[in-house]
């Protein structure tokens, strides 16, 4: 027999999930309740875990062993809140500027290597002599695709004239490479989203939650269909098309 706490937990889990799913039918009060709860819960949660890190890792150790850099960080950090003071809001920019500067300085030199030079390095492949025909072909396709797709993103050369026309052709090939890429990526995105959906349904179908899923699902669906029917009776039926005219 489940305890009261477990019962409430199971009930809330199912209730919240179904309220959100109700949106796939149409906009409704359950959804409004769920979004507002979620926005508030998420913002409060991230604020408290940030405060917790500050307290545990910075402020409490500081009381035992003074660290002036940490203290300076906290004090300068209050500059962020000038944003809400109409007269001196511009002071907020200082904190923002330092923050932006630090993240640029830390990421940029590293991403030049990981995103640019290392990627070009990995494209320098043998075009023949890999041993297998498939290997040669694969390398050729990689080299060809990377270069044509990069040329697609060159904009300041017009696709006219003796230089521009061949570049225009190459960049057309590059577009095809991107289309294949997007096709594969779309397939993977569908997989991802379906897995996400299945994961939430798995939670709903857990032994503790199943019963509430049945009850609450019926209640919410009944409400949605009921209001939909009422509305349809009120307004003249409108043809719903899912397809835009070609």
């Amino acid at each position: 027999m489940a305890t009261l706490e477990e019962t409430i937990l199971a009930f809330l889990t199912v209730w919240g999930t179904l309220c959100i799913y109700s949106y796939t039918f149409k906009d409704n009060p359950f959804w409004k309740w769920a979004t507002n709860t979620l926005v508030a819960g998420y913002i409060a949660y991230s604020a408290v875990v940030n405060i917790d890190w500050l307290l545990n890792s910075i402020i409490i150790p500081m009381t035992k062993n003074m660290n002036y850099i940490h203290l300076l960080g906290i004090l300068v950090g209050f500059l962020w809140y000038f944003r809400f003071w109409k007269k001196y809001f511009y002071i907020y920019r200082y904190a923002l500027a330092m923050n932006v500067g630090a993240s640029i300085g830390i990421s940029l030199p590293r991403s030049v290597r990981s995103d640019i030079t290392q990627q070009i390095g990995a494209t320098m492949l043998k075009l023949y002599g890999t041993g297998t025909l498939l290997g040669d072909f694969t390398n050729l396709v990689i080299v060809f695709s990377v270069i044509t797709a990069m040329i697609y993103f060159i904009f300041t050369i017009k696709h006219e004239g003796p230089v521009g026309t061949p570049i225009g052709w190459i960049s057309k090939v590059g577009r095809w490479v991107l289309i294949v890429t997007f096709g594969v990526a779309f397939g993977n995105t569908i997989n991802s989203r379906m897995a996400l959906l299945l994961g939430t349904v798995y939670t709903l179908m857990k032994p503790d939650n199943k019963i509430y899923f049945g009850i609450l699902g019926t209640v919410i669906l009944g409400y949605l269909i009921g209001t939909e029917l009422l509305e349809r009776r009120k307004v003249a039926p409108e043809i719903i098309t899912t397809q835009k005219p070609d």
């Binding site: 949106y23 926005v39 030079t117 070009i120 390095g121 043998k126 075009l127 990069m150 060159i154 991107l178």
Partner: protein, 255 residues
């Protein structure tokens, strides 16, 4: 013990080179260098879509973008200026669905500026045109979909920090019978499939540069292109030399 950490010389050199090339090109563009861009299909479509909105008497809706810090949002602002002027000139109803509190003043500045430039400030109604939803992702999505459902736009333009929710926005607009043109550097596949015209990553920046004619954006674009040509040529040399059995370019890359 060398001055530079082993393995970081080439990427450091490239970083420096990029700075020099990009800043030089921006400077050159500012001094009045004329640049011509290749044709981008989606750009012509923007004009057509606005014209269609004018014909049908339905509004044009634009996504206001997220916080004004990324390339996407900057390009979106340039395009916003263009579309707003276009709508003001033709007298088409224009609506911006704003998401970011920080971006809101910028949007106001751009849209009122566009109406002023067309001499239509008398018909500009800020509360009608610029509507603020919510900074939170899905709350904004639901607001955007509400707006689409009530206003039934003929043309929807979306760019600037689109993420997981982008597809729902796009779908709702298409289902309302709108032409959708979007541009993004994330969620590429999904948006490419779902919108009528899609500006793929850098195409969006190029579109922004082209429509605004801003020397800063034009110059950066041209600087980037030179760097890309440099890299492509390096890659071609590298492939040739690797195929011939020499790996000297790799050694340079790993210096």
């Amino acid at each position: 013990m060398s001055l530079i950490v082993k393995g970081r010389l080439f990427s450091g050199f490239f970083l420096l080179l990029s700075a020099i090339v990009i800043l030089m090109m921006i400077e050159w563009a500012k001094r009045g260098r004329k640049l011509s861009l290749r044709r981008i299909a989606a750009l012509d479509a923007i004009d057509e879509a606005v014209a269609r909105a004018t014909e049908t008497g339905r509004p044009v809706l634009q996504h206001g973008g997220s916080d004004p810090s990324g390339n996407d949002t900057i390009a979106n602002f340039s395009i916003m200026n263009y579309i707003a002027r276009n709508c003001a000139r033709r007298g088409t109803d224009y609506i911006v669905a704003a998401r970011s509190t920080a971006g809101l003043p910028v949007i106001r500045e751009i849209v009122s500026g566009a109406y002023e430039a067309e001499g239509k400030l008398d018909v500009y109604d800020e509360y009608h045109t610029i509507r603020f939803g919510s900074p939170e992702q899905f709350a904004f999505a639901s607001f955007f979909m509400d707006t689409v459902a009530t206003e039934k736009p003929a043309f929807t333009f979306m760019a600037g920090g689109l993420s997981g929710e982008a597809l729902t926005l796009c779908e709702s607009a298409v289902l309302a019978g709108s032409i959708v043109i979007s541009g993004s550097s994330g969620q590429l596949a999904v948006l490419f499939a779902a919108s009528d015209y899609f500006l793929i990553a850098e195409e969006l920046y190029a579109a922004g540069a082209y429509l605004s004619g801003d020397p800063l954006q034009m110059g950066s674009l041209s600087g980037e292109d030179y760097l890309k040509i440099f890299l492509v040529s390096l890659a071609v040399i590298g492939i040739a030399s690797v195929s011939l059995g020499s790996r000297w370019l790799f050694d340079i890359f790993n210096m």
